[in-house]
């Protein structure tokens, strides 16, 4: 039961509060709520079959009513066709709150919960049927160089975001060195729910068990110019029958090569005994003109835990070089970046000829503040990838007639080929957003856009118009002490 796990987290978090029951009345709290409503029209596709004698063979290959058709045996053929438009109309309600002054110096409680609801429509938007999530729910004791947390919390490191129900203790051993240890029940990445709740029924060969996570990190800061974070993390099934993951990462940022700033990272999959993703970026701000040049070398290979077969299929990394340049003058800001990528040797059989293994990326954009209240933004994105292609441009005119009102009109156009699929997708669209600051505690945003989908070539669907809309009402409440946690180094 989902509610049971959330309740467990809250009980864990409340345990620390109980220690100070003599002064249970909070002296302060601060929080926000965000009420979101979204609508999107979707047009699912389905795979249909058609008799071979109805299929036409032409310059575009085999087609049926313009749809590309695949015929395996000659007796029956299949093709993808679009269904009628379906509608997804969902709502979500977020509440985040931090309370302090709980009778013990440095003790606070933080929670971030989300409720979801399907308001209407027959298309089930991802997770819209997941009624309630507690993303954060922990008590924190922050005393001098020590910080302890108990409850549902999240760890951010070079290994990504990982949530867990448990405890963490961090300590600033020296001004230059902080260490942290944590452990508890592991939550599924990105879902923040225990494995049994989140994955059962979704994943084949699911071990039907929860998992424990333990980890430690050390953060070093040297002479104000260099910092490094070393992380080790291990997940194990709760019956100790096997590991789910065992990984380590090192992230470094240094200014010792001033004026060049360097960031670098690398992670290592101990369980599979192979390198994970890594990158090194050198940034150089030219003296005088507001120009920044960046050079990035990147290696990426996806990470899979040991509970699925995917990691055993030996994914290969790609290596990428990206050069970026940006200019930020008083009259305008502009940027341009380009990159080339090459995939590693896959060691797979070559039939006829090898597939593509190179890719290119190009991005460009600019912001022009035409006046104090009018800004024009434009960007272009080209991804010439392996088996897929995207060329996308966007332009936005942002108008702020008053300090409390922000209006934006957007236009977009994109063209894409999807994964090794024949057919060119073209989309034109436009829309607008409005942001209105009702008061210093209330903000209302909304947007409406329409996209015209017009496949060309061997198409799946006839041209159709997609409507999307959203609104968000954000309300802040409480007072003091704001967002700072500056005394705590990590």
């Amino acid at each position: 039961m989902r509610m049971r796990s959330v309740g467990g987290s809250l009980v864990l978090a409340a345990a620390a509060l109980a220690l100070s029951a003599h002064a249970a009345a909070g002296q302060g709290y601060r929080g926000w709520t965000s009420s979101n409503v979204r609508y999107v029209g979707m047009r699912p596709v389905t795979q249909e079959s058609v008799a071979r004698d109805l299929v036409v063979e032409g310059a575009d290959g085999l087609t049926y009513q313009g749809h590309p058709v695949f015929c395996l045996s000659g007796a029956s053929c299949t093709y993808f066709a679009a269904l009628d438009t379906e509608h997804a109309f969902t709502g979500s309600q977020d509440v985040g709150v931090t309370a302090w002054g709980l009778g013990l110096q440095g003790l606070s409680f933080t929670a971030l919960v989300r409720a979801r609801a399907r308001i209407g429509g027959d298309f089930i938007w991802p997770r819209s049927d997941d009624d309630f999530d507690a993303m954060l729910a922990y008590a924190q004791l922050d005393r001098g160089r020590l910080r302890a947390r108990l409850g549902r919390q999240e760890n951010l490191s070079g290994l990504g975001f990982r949530g867990y129900d448990g405890a963490s203790v961090a300590m600033e051993v020296l001004p230059e060195l902080s260490v942290e240890g944590y452990g508890g029940r592991s939550l599924v990445r990105g879902l923040n729910e225990p494995r049994q709740e989140a994955l059962k029924g979704l994943v084949d060969f699911f071990p039907n068990r929860d998992a424990w996570i333990v980890g430690a990190s050390a953060n070093v800061r040297l002479d104000g110019r260099t910092s490094a974070d070393l992380q080790y993390q291990r997940e194990i099934l709760d019956d100790r029958s096997g590991l789910l993951s065992e990984r380590a990462s090192l992230d470094v940022r240094t200014g010792v090569f001033e004026p060049v700033m360097v960031t670098a990272s690398v992670d290592y999959d101990v369980a599979f005994d192979r390198m994970g993703k890594s990158h090194v970026t050198a940034s150089y701000a030219l003296p005088g003109p507001p120009v920044v040049v960046q050079l990035t070398g990147r290696r990426y290979v996806p990470y899979f835990d040991l509970s699925t077969i995917w990691g055993f299929f030996s994914p290969v990394p790609y290596h990428e070089v990206i050069v970026r340049g940006s200019w930020s003058g008083t009259a305008a800001t502009a940027w341009l970046s380009g990159g080339a990528r090459s995939y590693g040797e896959t060691d797979t059989p070559v039939i006829l000829s090898p597939l593509e293994s190179d890719a290119w990326i190009l991005e460009a954009g600019g912001v022009w503040p035409a006046s104090e209240r009018l800004t024009v933004e434009a960007s272009y994105d080209l991804r010439w990838g392996v088996g897929a292609f995207l060329s996308s441009g966007e332009a936005t005119v942002r108008f702020r007639p008053r300090e409390d009102l922000d209006i934006a009109i957007q236009a977009t156009s994109l063209q894409q080929f999807q994964e090794f699929r024949v057919g060119e997708g073209r989309i034109w669209g436009g829309g607008g957003t409005v942001g209105f600051i009702v008061s210093d505690r209330i903000r209302l945003d909304g947007g409406l856009s329409i996209f015209r989908h017009a496949d060309e070539g061997r198409q799946i669907q006839d041209p159709w118009s997609q409507l999307r809309g959203w609104s968000a009402l954000r309300l802040e409440f409480g007072s003091e002490p704001g967002t700072t946690g500056r005394r705590f180094r990590r």
Binding site: L199, D251, F313, R486
Partner: protein, 475 residues
């Protein structure tokens, strides 16, 4: 009172009156050779006719009077060119006509001039520079230190009313008690209380408002202000850090310690807003806005790191944040990160048309979707809904640009396994890639360490293998 400690800092930089207030004026008076003219003038008022009546323009003779007499006697060397009335400006609460009238009652007006303006034991024309000691010799002075203990108002008018030129204000020297650190750090406020005239003798309100952001407080508003056209020494604002701020716990405790009178001296509401998000704490609401004050104040500001202004910041921020979370935590809590990284809280996190174009980013693994999304639980659930998920049928299926896709997909799969997992279930693959599948194709790469994998998690081997593949363990 520690609230006025700030003013002291400026006092250190602004020369204040010293021991000889009349020194510049005296130097001018001393230039006339009175002794050489002895016997020529029976009365002092022959040249200084305006003194008894207070007429400044007749305090001194004009140059023509001197020249006329010198020419008559054939004497050269008259350099006197007259005296500007402005040079007679003084901050003394003294008027010759008043003083003269009082002394005239004694019947010996000539004696009155010589009493103050001649050296002791000298003749009437043996004029000496005038000093405060002369006044004190008759009137008495109970203070031990002229600039510290005296009742200033007895002899002086406030500086703001004196009209003293800048040069003479600059020549003033600060009293000894102004040099102490305690005076600068707040003692000057206590010194002011009940003794406002001592401060205003040498200072104007403009000095207070140069540092105090709460210049509208009553003590300052009641302090005499110099006229707009009066030239004053430049007052530089300085805000030495109070001892309380150096405490290790100050950041935690400053809210409880805050009171308007102590914070408002140096801080505006904008300083609070540099750390606190609106709505600001109640104590901040009592402070002035920066736009409302004259003094600059401490001037804390929201110091947005330059990295945040880069157009690439969204993509770069993980690399910046992870090795130095402390920097991020100076302003952001973990809840701030989670607002975006946990999905739909902020609709603008992905651009409005992201669903339409996300395929290329995902397939090319540029976006690193798995940072926030689980491919099986998130991506595939939507792909199933929208008809893009594989149903397990063998053939090119969706990837119809490659007629021999089934035979050629291995390379693409190893290059983009993340995307495969977003549409395909594991069972799809095991139709061929398992020991009980149709073709029993080994999916493991050349460097695959089967023994190590089995040691780590023996259970997963049996997803594909019906028996223990290497004998290293079992279900």
């Amino acid at each position: 009172m520690k609230t006025l400690w700030v003013v002291g800092a400026a006092l250190l930089l602004w020369p204040a009156p010293g021991q000889a207030l009349m020194a510049p004026q005296d130097q001018v008076l001393d230039t006339f050779p009175h002794a050489l003219h002895e016997g020529m003038f029976p009365l002092c008022t022959g040249c200084h006719g305006g003194v008894p009546t207070g007429e400044l323009e007749r305090f001194y003779p004009d140059a023509a009077t001197c020249v006329r007499c010198h020419e008559l006697r054939g004497v050269e060397g008259v350099t006197w060119s007259g005296r500007e009335p402005g040079t007679l400006v003084s901050n003394l609460a003294f008027a010759h006509e008043v003083h003269g009238a009082a002394v005239s009652a004694t019947g010996d007006a000539e004696l009155v001039c010589a009493t103050c303006h001649t050296a002791e034991g000298g003749g009437r024309m043996d004029v000496d520079p005038l000093s405060a000691d002369v006044c004190v010799s008759c009137h008495g002075h109970p203070a031990q230190r002229h600039t510290q203990d005296a009742e200033c108002a007895t002899c002086h008018v406030p500086l703001a009313e004196s009209g003293l030129p800048l040069e003479r204000i600059d020549a003033m020297r600060p009293p000894r008690d102004h040099f102490s650190g305690a005076f600068a750090a707040g003692a000057h406020g206590a010194a002011l209380a009940g003794n406002e005239f001592r401060c205003s003798t040498c200072h104007t309100r403009q000095l207070c408002t140069a540092c105090h952001v709460d210049a509208d407080r009553s003590e300052i508003q009641s302090f005499p202000a110099a006229p707009a056209d009066m030239r004053l020494p430049e007052a530089r604002s300085r805000y030495p850090t109070p001892e309380s701020h150096a405490s290790e716990d100050f950041e935690w405790e400053h809210g409880a310690l805050s009171e308007e009178t102590s914070c408002a001296t140096c801080h505006t509401r904008d300083d609070c807003a540099s750390c606190h998000l609106p709505p600001l704490p109640a104590a901040a609401g009592e402070l002035r806005r920066r736009s409302e004050v004259v003094a600059p104040g401490v001037g804390l500001s929201v110091d947005v790191p330059s990295s945040h202004e880069s157009p690439h910041f969204l993509g770069e921020h993980p690399a910046l944040a992870i090795p130095d979370m402390a920097s991020c935590q100076s302003c952001h809590t973990s809840a701030f990160c989670v607002e975006c990284h946990e999905g739909p809280g902020q609709p603008e996190f992905h651009p409005p048309n992201f669903v339409a174009e996300h395929a290329a980013s995902a397939w090319n693994q540029t976006a690193e979707c798995s940072t926030c999304h689980d491919a099986q639980a998130f991506c595939r659930s939507c792909h199933v809904q929208s008809g893009f998920a594989a149903d397990g049928r063998l053939g090119p299926g969706y990837h119809d640009a490659e007629p021999l896709w089934l035979l050629r997909h291995a390379q693409a799969a190893r290059q983009s396994l993340e995307s495969c997992a977003s549409c395909h279930s594991q069972r799809n693959c095991l139709q061929c890639h398992s020991t009980v599948g149709a073709f029993q194709v080994n999916p493991h790469g050349r460097d695959f360490d089967a023994k190590r994998a089995q040691e780590k998690n023996p259970g997963v081997c049996f997803a594909c293998h019906s028996t223990n593949p290497i004998g290293g363990g079992g279900p």
